[in-house]
Each structure stands twice: as structure tokens, then as C-alpha cells.
């Protein structure tokens, strides 16, 4: 009996769901709202919702309001495929997201088949844009580009013995692998290469082992949470080796976790975040964000989701059309140096973001991030 009831319920919910096709332009957001990457997903949601609100308050796109439809991908490919199926049936024009290359990949084919434009924000694996999928773009840089930046920073620093530490997430591993390959080709001496397990709080065993390898510098490609703890525990054991991090450490919470003394002197490579840009768009966004959430935006990935939303709405506005071919053509060919929240945005034919994005940041003695020239 219960099973029948459930099925009736399923069918009922479906009919209600599909009957809602109204006038506003519908844009999807696929984000990890639950699960291990929930902090990224919740930030993505906050930022995209805020931008949509502001856009609608200012009159929408050529007079049409925008509605954001959110689906939780749980940070897992299986749930992501379901989320993508669900969004595909909701009459959306484009979708923003998601975080994690494998998760994005599980949804790519579904959106492609449904003819929905996808703008990924935190999926850096090279192969995603190498498939010739016309409706796929991303606002984040690719692993190979980041690897090059990491390599340059380490080479320019003149370090002799290099330790590389990642966290086995697809992003951090990709960056670590690319950087290592370039360093090895250049004949650098990599004295340590390994992965920590995220969210375990105590990294002293790893630091002790790394210290025994006696590196001049540690390149950590993982996240700010672990980076903060590493810096703090490194100071506790009186180890003074410099740390360089990737863009996943670009988060003000890093300093809160490490403490300003331990964080001072830490450097990382990252696209600029809106806090550092003096464009009117970035300033307006920051004012609005602080006003609504009374906090600083989190990681750069969430802001990149905001940029995804902004380029899509811009393209709809500029082409005054909801024809996806026109929109994609505009994004790939006509949009040049669009003032994004993470610097200027242009896309190439593959849908990758082009341009020299990266900046080097350093944490100063007060615990503030300073962009180095």
C-alpha cells in the first residue's frame, strides 16, 4: 500500500513541478549545498542569489526578471547527475556550476543533451573543455595554467629544495601534478611530494616528516582550512620554512585559523578577488555582499560562480535573446574583457577563460592579504 502511495505522491509532485513555467528567465545553479563541500556550495548560493536580487531590483534583464533555480549536487557525481536531470526538466536556459571536476563531468552530458548552457565555476580538470561540447564554458582557469603559475613562482623564488603537499582533491592534486611535472622538466629538486587527508585537524605528523626532508619551501595546493592549521602547527614547532599556496587558500578565514603571527609572510597565487579590485562592479558587489551577509565572501570559487551568473545575464542582455547559440557565440566571440568580480573575463573557442589571471598575494603582519606587484 505504502509503495503505491509513494508512487502516487511521486507522480503528483511531478505534475505540480512541471506546470510552473512562467515568464521570468530561469537560470539554474548546481552547487554542493550538503556534504563535504557544503561551505563552497552555500557560498555559491549566497552570491548568486544576491546578484540575482540586485539584478532584479535594478529592473532585470531588458525588463525581464531572473529566477534562480537551485539544485544540490551533494559534491558527488551520482547526486550531480540527478540534480542535472532535475534542472533539465525545469525549463532553464543556462546553469551555473559546479564545484569539482568529476562532479561537473557527471552533469555535462545531461545538460548538453538538453541544450542548456553550462558555466562551471570550480572545475579545473583540463579535459572538460577538450570534448568539443559547444555549450560548456568555465570561469575558472585550468589546471595546466595554474601549474604554470605555481612553477614560475617557485622558480622565481630561487628555491633549491621544494616540498609539494596536496590534499588529494581533484583540484589540489591537479595543481600539484602539473607543477611537479614542470619543475621536474626544469631539473628542480623535489624533496617531498605527498597528500594530507583534509579535515583531520592535526597535521603535526606530516609537518615533522616534511621537516625531516629539509625543504627550502613548501608548496601547498589544498584548501585554506588545512593551510591555516599547517601554518599554526608549523609555528608551534618553531619551523620557519616559507609556505606558498594555491588559490584555494585565498580566504580570509585562513588568517583567523592560523592566527596573524603564524600567517604573516604566507604567500599564495590566486586570481584577484573582488576585495582587491577597484572596478565599480567589484565595489558595488562588495558593498551589497557586506550589507546583506555581514561577512566577507569566502573562497574564490564561489565568487567565480557569481561571475558565471554575471556573464550569462550580460550575454542575454546584449543579444536580447534567449537563443542559446546566440548567447554562446556572444560569450565566446564578442565578450572581451568583461569586468568580472575576479578580473577581466573573456572566453576562447573552447569555452575556457583566457587572460593572465594570477596574482601573488602575501599575508602582512596585521593578517591582511596584500597583492604583490
Amino acid at each position: 500500500m505504502k509503495k503505491m502511495l509513494l508512487l502516487v505522491l511521486l507522480i503528483g509532485l511531478l505534475t505540480v513541478g512541471s506546470a510552473l513555467a512562467a515568464d521570468p528567465i530561469r537560470i539554474g545553479l548546481m552547487a554542493p549545498l550538503t556534504g563535504a563541500w557544503a561551505s563552497e556550495g552555500q557560498d555559491m548560493k549566497q552570491i548568486v542569489e544576491l546578484l540575482a536580487e540586485d539584478l532584479n531590483a535594478a529592473g532585470g534583464i531588458n525588463g525581464r526578471q531572473v529566477r534562480v533555480i537551485i539544485a544540490d549536487d551533494g559534491g558527488d557525481p551520482r547526486t550531480a547527475a540527478l540534480a542535472a536531470q532535475r534542472l533539465s526538466t525545469q525549463n532553464i536556459l543556462a546553469v551555473i556550476g559546479t564545484y569539482g571536476s568529476a562532479v561537473t563531468e557527471a552533469s555535462q552530458g545531461i545538460y548538453d543533451e538538453a541544450g542548456i548552457i553550462q558555466v562551471a565555476n570550480g572545475s579545473t580538470a583540463i579535459r572538460l573543455t577538450e570534448k568539443g561540447n559547444p555549450y560548456f564554458l568555465r570561469t575558472c582557469p585550468r589546471d595546466d595554467e595554474q601549474g604554470l603559475v605555481g612553477f614560475k613562482a617557485l622558480k622565481d623564488g630561487g628555491f633549491k629544495a621544494i616540498a609539494i603537499l596536496h590534499d588529494n582533491s581533484s583540484y589540489a592534486k591537479g595543481l600539484a601534478d602539473e607543477t611537479r611535472a614542470l619543475l621536474q622538466k626544469d631539473g628542480a629538486n623535489i624533496v617531498f611530494f605527498d597528500a594530507l587527508t583534509p579535515q583531520q585537524n592535526d597535521y603535526t605528523a606530516i609537518l615533522t616528516r616534511m621537516r625531516a626532508a629539509n625543504p627550502d619551501v613548501v608548496f601547498f595546493t589544498g584548501y585554506y582550512g588545512e593551510a591555516g592549521l599547517l601554518l599554526r602547527q608549523k609555528m608551534e614547532m618553531n619551523w620557519t620554512v616559507p609556505f606558498i599556496g594555491g588559490d584555494a587558500t585565498n580566504n580570509p578565514d585562513l588568517v583567523k585559523i592560523a592566527g596573524p603571527t603564524a600567517a604573516a609572510g604566507y604567500r599564495f597565487l590566486s586570481p584577484p578577488v573582488p576585495q582587491d579590485l577597484d572596478t565599480p562592479e567589484a565595489k558595488a558587489f562588495m558593498a551589497s555582499y557586506r550589507n546583506k551577509y555581514n561577512a566577507e565572501p569566502g573562497s574564490v570559487w564561489a565568487v567565480l560562480a557569481g561571475d558565471g551568473f554575471r556573464v550569462i545575464t550580460k550575454a542575454i542582455e546584449a543579444t536580447d535573446s534567449t537563443d542559446r547559440d546566440k548567447i554562446v557565440a556572444y560569450l565566446k566571440n564578442e565578450m572581451q574583457d568583461f569586468p568580472g568580480l575576479t578580473g577581466e573575463i573573456s572566453f576562447d573557442e573552447k569555452g575556457d577563460r583566457v587572460g593572465d589571471l594570477y596574482r601573488v598575494y602575501e599575508v602582512n603582519a596585521e593578517g591582511k592579504f596584500v597583492m604583490l606587484p
Binding site: 557525481p77 547527475a81 563531468e105 581533484s170
Partner: protein, 319 residues
């Protein structure tokens, strides 16, 4: 009292069979997921429900099946469905090797060992063991299955593949349940010492149950890989094992309809709660507690075994 169950089951089957013609792609895909979990749940049911082994590492065998399919398919372009028996076999052989030394562990000790098993598997996959698992990026580009030249691609197509396989599973496991083997398993679940005393080689039976469950999970992994075309370690973490564990217990240990209902609840409810966005798992957790409190032995526990009055003496020795 008249037994309405056959009517209910028949109505359920008809409704399910008609579902893809009325539902959109999303809900069909939800049903596909439910079907996959039902197959996995049924395979775990042999181990957990019938043999009573606390096995919380089933995702490991599921992963082995999926990765076997993915690796062979992407390297040698062998059609996916041909790999189904191989996936099952690999998972089964590994289960045999792994389970042998640990099968004598009792209750919670076995539980932690099986948790360890799934964690070791996941870590091995993430660390790209032997350079063949693709690390945390997983393996992509797995080809779609084909049956007699028909390419299975859309959720509606998968629906029939998955639920067809589920139907086969139900049929076979139902037979297994009522076989001498199934009854022996129940005996050692209820009283291992007594079972041992009546001449049942308990370790042997447990091991078979373990391997049968693993083979089936491996084959389910094959379908999963074919459906997703990309697999990553995150899909096979400890949590996935917990979900399977809950499916069996929530529905009713040892009951085939119960496990299928459990799959509907555990894999389906979070989808129904999508409208609650971030709170959906919170509600899901609360409902799980509530369901367990109201149906303490699972929602559809198995009926006690009944045998026709002994017309003739003898019968099978193991009962």
C-alpha cells in the same frame, strides 16, 4: 484473513512498469537510482539480512565492480555489458580473499573491519593505485551499453535495464531465500552456536553469503559505471555503505519487499525533499528516526517461515 499481498505486488509492478511513460526524465532517473540501490540492497540483504553479518563495507565491492568495468572498457573498448560477469567475478574473488581471514569476527568487530575495507578501497582509488584508477578525478569516457545494436542512453532506456536486472535479482534471491542454503543462513543468524552444533559449517556458509552479495554488488557497479559514464572515488565512500546498510535495516532485514521499499525511502526521499534545499538532509535524518521508532523491526519485516504440516517425515536436514 485473505492475503492481499499478491495484489499489492502486482499493482506495484504495473505502476512501476508504466512509470517511465508518464514521468519526465528526472523522475525516471530517480527511479533508476532507486532501482540501483534496490539491487545493491538486495545483495547486501543476503549478507546482513540473512546471514546476519554486520557488513558496513558493501560499497567496496560495488566500487570494485564499477572500476573493473571502467578500466577494461576505457582501455580495451570491450562493450560494457559484456563486462558485467567479469565485474561480478572480480568483486567476488576479492571478497573471497578478503573475507576468509575476517569472517570469524563477531558483530561489531566485523563491522569495523568492513568499514576499514571500504575506507582502504576508497583511499586506494583516490591515490590512484597501480596508476589505473585515475585518482580523485576518477575514470571518464565509459561507453554506453548496447543491447542487440540498441544503444542505451536515455534515463528511460536505463530504467528498463536497471529494473529488468532488479526483477532478475528478486527472482533469484527469492529462490535462494527459500533454498536449503537460505534456511541454513537464517539458522546461523538466529543461533550460530546451535547451527554449528547441528553440523552446519558456519564459516563456509557465511563466506558463500559474503561472496554472493559481493558478486551482485560488482554487477550493480557495472550498471552504475555504464549509466554515469564517469566514476569517481567519492561515489563509493563509507557513507554509501551506510546508506545501503540503512536500506536493509529500514525496510526489514531479510525481506525482499522490505529492502525494495527501503531503497525507495532512502534513495527517493531526499529527492522529494529537494524543495527544502539546504534543510533536506536534516528532515531526512529526523524522518529516519521516526520511521525506526514506529516500526522497530523495519517497515516490512519478513514473515516468519511457515511450512506445511509435515505430511511425510524426513525433509531436508538443514532446517
Amino acid at each position: 484473513m485473505k492475503d492481499y499481498r499478491p495484489v499489492v505486488y502486482a499493482a506495484f509492478c504495473v505502476l512501476l512498469l508504466l512509470a517511465p511513460f508518464f514521468l519526465n526524465a528526472y523522475w525516471v532517473d530517480v527511479l533508476n537510482n532507486v532501482g540501483l540501490y534496490a539491487i545493491l540492497g538486495l545483495s547486501l540483504n543476503i549478507i546482513l539480512g540473512h546471514a546476519g553479518l554486520f557488513h558496513m563495507g558493501h560499497a567496496a565491492f560495488y566500487a570494485m565492480g564499477a572500476y573493473t568495468t571502467a578500466i577494461i572498457n576505457t582501455t580495451y573498448q570491450i562493450p560494457v555489458l559484456w563486462l558485467m560477469p567479469i565485474s561480478g567475478l572480480v568483486a567476488g574473488v576479492l571478497a573471497l580473499v578478503i573475507a576468509r581471514p575476517i569472517i570469524h569476527l563477531r558483530g561489531d568487530y566485523l563491522l569495523i573491519v568492513t568499514i576499514g575495507l571500504v575506507e582502504i578501497t576508497r583511499i586506494a582509488l583516490v591515490n590512484n593505485i597501480f596508476g589505473i584508477t585515475g585518482g580523485s578525478n576518477g575514470i571518464f569516457g565509459i561507453s554506453r551499453p548496447e543491447i542487440f545494436g540498441f544503444r542505451i542512453r536515455r534515463p528511460e532506456h536505463f530504467f528498463f535495464l536497471i529494473w529488468g536486472f532488479a526483477a532478475v535479482t528478486v527472482f533469484l534471491f527469492h529462490r535462494l531465500e527459500n533454498s536449503r542454503f537460505g534456511r541454513a543462513l537464517n539458522y546461523l543468524r538466529e543461533d550460530e552456536t546451535a547451527a554449528e552444533g547441528s553440523g552446519i559449517n558456519t564459516a563456509h556458509y557465511k563466506l558463500i553469503a559474503f561472496v554472493v552479495g559481493a558478486v551482485w554488488a560488482g554487477m550493480a557497479g557495472n550498471i552504475f559505471a555504464a549509466k554515469m559514464t564517469i566514476i569517481a572515488p567519492e561515489s563509493f565512500n563509507f557513507w554509501e555503505s551506510v546508506i545501503l546498510f540503512m536500506i536493509v535495516l529500514l525496510g526489514g532485514r531479510g525481506s525482499i519487499p522490505g529492502v525494495i521499499l527501503g531503497a525507495f525511502l532512502i534513495a527517493g526521499l531526499p529527492e522529494l525533499f529537494r524543495q527544502f534545499a539546504s534543510a533536506r538532509m536534516l528532515i531526512f535524518g529526523a524522518i529516519m528516526i521516526a520511521m525506526m521508532i514506529f516500526r522497530t523491526e523495519g517497515i516490512l519485516p519478513p514473515r516468519p517461515r511457515r511450512y506445511p504440516a509435515p505430511a511425510s517425515g524426513g525433509g531436508e536436514g538443514a532446517s
